[in-house]
Symmetry: C2
Subunit: 372 residues, 2 copies
Amino acid sequence: MSVLKSKAVILRGVGEYGVEEVTVDPPKAGEVRVKMAATGVCGSDLSAINANLAVIYPLVLGHEGAGVVESVGEGVTHLEPGDHVALSFVPFCGTCYVCEHQQPNLCRVGRSAPGTMLDGTIRIHKGDEDIFTLVQLGAMAEYIVAPVASVVKVDKAVPLDRAALVGCAIMTGVGAAINTAEVKPGSTVVVFGCGGVGLSIIQGAKIAGASKIIGVDLAENKLELAEKFGATDVINPEGKNIVKEIRKMTKGVGADYGFEAIGNSVVMGQAYNATREGGVFTAVGLGKPGTNLEINAYSLPLSGRTIKGSMYGSGNPPRDFPMLLDLYQVGKLNLDDMVTQRYSIDQVVDAFDDLKANANARGVIVFDEALK
Amino acid sequence: MSVLKSKAVILRGVGEYGVEEVTVDPPKAGEVRVKMAATGVCGSDLSAINANLAVIYPLVLGHEGAGVVESVGEGVTHLEPGDHVALSFVPFCGTCYVCEHQQPNLCRVGRSAPGTMLDGTIRIHKGDEDIFTLVQLGAMAEYIVAPVASVVKVDKAVPLDRAALVGCAIMTGVGAAINTAEVKPGSTVVVFGCGGVGLSIIQGAKIAGASKIIGVDLAENKLELAEKFGATDVINPEGKNIVKEIRKMTKGVGADYGFEAIGNSVVMGQAYNATREGGVFTAVGLGKPGTNLEINAYSLPLSGRTIKGSMYGSGNPPRDFPMLLDLYQVGKLNLDDMVTQRYSIDQVVDAFDDLKANANARGVIVFDEALK
């Protein structure tokens, strides 16, 4: 297997990113090299750009993608060149305490190797320069190398720009509703924040049979999207006592399930208080480091509420990615309308500008002209 | 049915309480009059005395008791004079949103009638003076009237001073472990605070099959009690980084289940952080009004932890009281050693002094000489 040339979106400092030409080594043992088809443009990439996520430079961005296996490293027996795969941004080791407790979404092995492959080495180079990769992926590139534990085979019938989405927004959002909160049929749900993840929570709640799903967002176009993806009610919180309003909309008691998909500790508090006594509030958005969610220590036990932190939708990618794409194929999960804009890799700055402007449900960089 | 004379422990102002002679009306429709056998001396009564719970004066104290039905009001068909009963401090209406959702422990109907019976009227008098009752019970009295929804029939084979305990400490603590947190066999557990409730959490965790149960308390005699009731390890947090210590004791990851049974927001934060990523922290103690539990808004989603507020052990008294007393009768639940001191009603000041001094697992006021 030879070294390949690839365009990649590289972050070199706070706010400094662009397309560069790199080389991509062959996969080592337990790795696969993937020809990328599509990669989603996610708020977490933007957090990396803005240094709201701890990152290491220079770094290939991108963590929500899908493509075609180009070659496999030693010991990889269940995948072969030509297989379609979606990427998981949490490789799981299978042997740590949380993996043994069936919580692979919390495996720390990937986090313990920031910027490198799991063995601490690097596959992406520019001349003599080593280039790090975001979460063992660096998916905003024509070719990537990933640990086999970060790659899930998917049905070839699913277009790869839609398969890409299951790797982050869909797993995170639908999973928060169906795996973490375990939304029940007939229940009431409120979702604060209707971006890619919030819309996916709404979809998850709808799939799980919720009877009332309230979308909350300051952006009117997000509220329209919320309705498209299954919200039965929407509300713009601007100038309102939003907790009171949600209670009014839910028989005076609050929602059975509340979600926060922004990562703002104040909004988390609102979503918690908009959840009824005995209900379940799920925190999905990552708050800014150093900020706290403040919970009244008297009413927490008295109200019998549950608060769940949801990491990666409490997902198990090899189990959940195919399940989610089955839901797509039978028409229960709307991925087609999630992709509201396609970009070439050279349009990456436009893609992030549109993300900042809340212009998309999800923007996707496509590397394969057939998907444009 | 006639008006009866009764001694009762009456609170007349902050810190002002003592035994007085009152009269007890016959039960109205949907009520029962109970000749009390035993009533536990609980931290919540002390909170009422100290005005850390909102109360109304003059008030009969006591909420954890058991006795014998003396007479029943109109429409009460499933109880008759002579039946043994334990008291629940949360009457459930059966028709509100949470009752319909099988969370009778959160029913607010009792809380909406503070100090009176559910119909807003009063059964206890001293001459012309009306006397309120704590949580529709006022169980520190020789005779009480209670709503039938606050009374559960129990097996006559169980001594009533032990049956009394299921009504608060046991339901709250064992229930927090088995109903709220749903502790799993083979798991690791840490309990902050080893008073009556904390010891009951330890017992619940043991019944549920936990393999390691760590008791945390500043009082050495509480740690000895913790071991007696099932803690496999105990630790005094004085001068220690207790979160680090608990992690060391639990394979470096933290406990699968953490509990706080004190009601101190700072200790709640310690118990939360001593719970592993992906684990469940249950807040049992009521924090002081106005204090907040502060949860890092970045690590909450990332760590995939769950926080559960546990009110009355997520209990359903008609289902759970008999179950708990079955566990007692088969030797799995130790109630005998819970009652470390018995008092007559005239010794109530000693009883509360001992409570303040952490002298007991549980002190109990007995009205029936046979129990002394």
